[in-house]
Symmetry: C2
Subunit: 225 residues, 2 copies
DNA sequence: TAGATTGTTAATCGATTAACAATC
DNA sequence: TAGATTGTTAATCGATTAACAATC
């Protein structure tokens, strides 16, 4: 990695790396903080190639010691800083249905850089109530509040049909990132970060592999036609 | 693609392809079934490279007509067959907490090849009740019922601490695939399909990009040090 | 026929894996 | 010192993108 990139932090990090780093973090938290750990160890523990672990870890900018590895404490902190977990970003959740409620109850998001500060719902019966300790506000307040409070993250847990509309309100409120749980492709300005959590797409991967497995069972691949 | 592979269906399909096919399917469902559609059109609509769409579509085994494209109806069916959405697989959901309840309420999974037939929970107060029309059964019945009913899919929505234990019960019951929502790496025999839906890992990607974006705002990349 | 699109092969790009010198 | 591990460069692998002939 070029050192200029390292210093500015302006590097495009591969998605797979971004998804593995939290895994390392989770494993490291089980270890004594003052201990040293090697990429070999992490890889062995998680069933990953040690070289891959090293590459991933390199992105955090940490410098290790040959033969020794990294101090668990330092590596944990490096990952946290790199993933932006050290400074908490506030989030609004829109759609206090059952999925929304589940997320509001997650609780541990605060350890991962995000704090859900309020929920919004179109159902006026829900407005004013609390879900897992979070107040449900009226949709009418979303844009204005997001703008005034500078809330950077919007979480969409509304039905697909109204997701685009909600996304537009979030953009209007100046939100920087959208975590979208509705099964639709959102159309937003390209400087807005969108992360789709489309369970139907995820299920598809599982479903296809299962179907292939069943197929193989009936008709093993080594059998000629 | 070699034709032998095409006929047997024993091809390793790239994950990205598997995640895009449902997107095409969703778009196609909005179109008149008797109409024709080209990969160019699909790509333009979803903001994807048309060649990539063609490659993905090729995996389903469908044959198109130059200049015309594919009949929407045929392509929809080809995707459904390929992803295994045409024959419904049964699933047990374990952990009737708020996330479990949200999934039980999803409803549309049946259109995507999976039918949740029952839920299980360790809390005896929940046993016997219904969540979104699904009966909650006792954990003690899980292994035996999975085995006798040949339920191939297990959904884990229990706390991280007990997820491994639940996974082992699912394996013991002969389950083929596990959709894991608990934030832990499961240790199961390698012939069991595992799909992790780790929200903390997902959040990490969003969080890191947001942190980088904030950083760029403060200190634009074209500024020399 | 002309032009658009499929099907297929080749080139590019990026991520993973391998190799190896530097180092503690 | 010997051996393990880092840091770094090269090779491999797989997915994306480009090119182009076949075809309707």
């Amino acid at each position: 990695m070029a050192s200029a990139e390292k210093r500015t932090g302006n590097v495009v990090v591969p998605e797979p790396t971004l998804r593995r780093l939290p895994l390392y973090h989770r494993f490291l938290k089980l270890l004594p903080m003052e201990q040293a750990v090697s990429c070999t160890r992490i890889g062995a523990e998680l069933g990953l190639d040690p070289t891959q672990v090293r590459k991933d870890v390199e992105f955090t900018g940490i410098v290790g010691r040959p033969k020794v590895g990294y101090l668990v404490f330092d590596l944990v902190k490096a990952i946290e800083r790199f993933l932006g977990w050290d400074n908490l970003s506030e989030a609004f959740l829109v759609g206090a249905g059952s999925l929304g409620a589940a997320l509001l109850g997650y609780g541990k998001f605060e350890a991962y850089g995000m704090k859900i500060v309020a929920a919004f719902d179109a159902d006026e019966h829900k407005v004013g109530t609390q879900v897992h300790g979070k107040l449900v506000l009226s949709m009418g307040e979303l844009v204005d509040l997001a703008e005034r409070m500078h809330v950077p993250i919007g979480i969409i847990t509304v039905p697909a049909a109204v997701a685009q509309e909600v996304a537009e309100m979030m953009v209007a409120g100046g939100m920087q990132a959208i975590w979208n749980f509705a099964p639709v492709q959102l159309n937003v300005p390209k400087d807005v970060i969108v992360r789709n959590e489309d369970l139907y797409c995820s299920l598809a991967a599982l479903s296809q592999k299962l179907a292939q497995k069943e197929l193989r069972k009936e008709r093993p691949s080594y059998v000629a036609e």
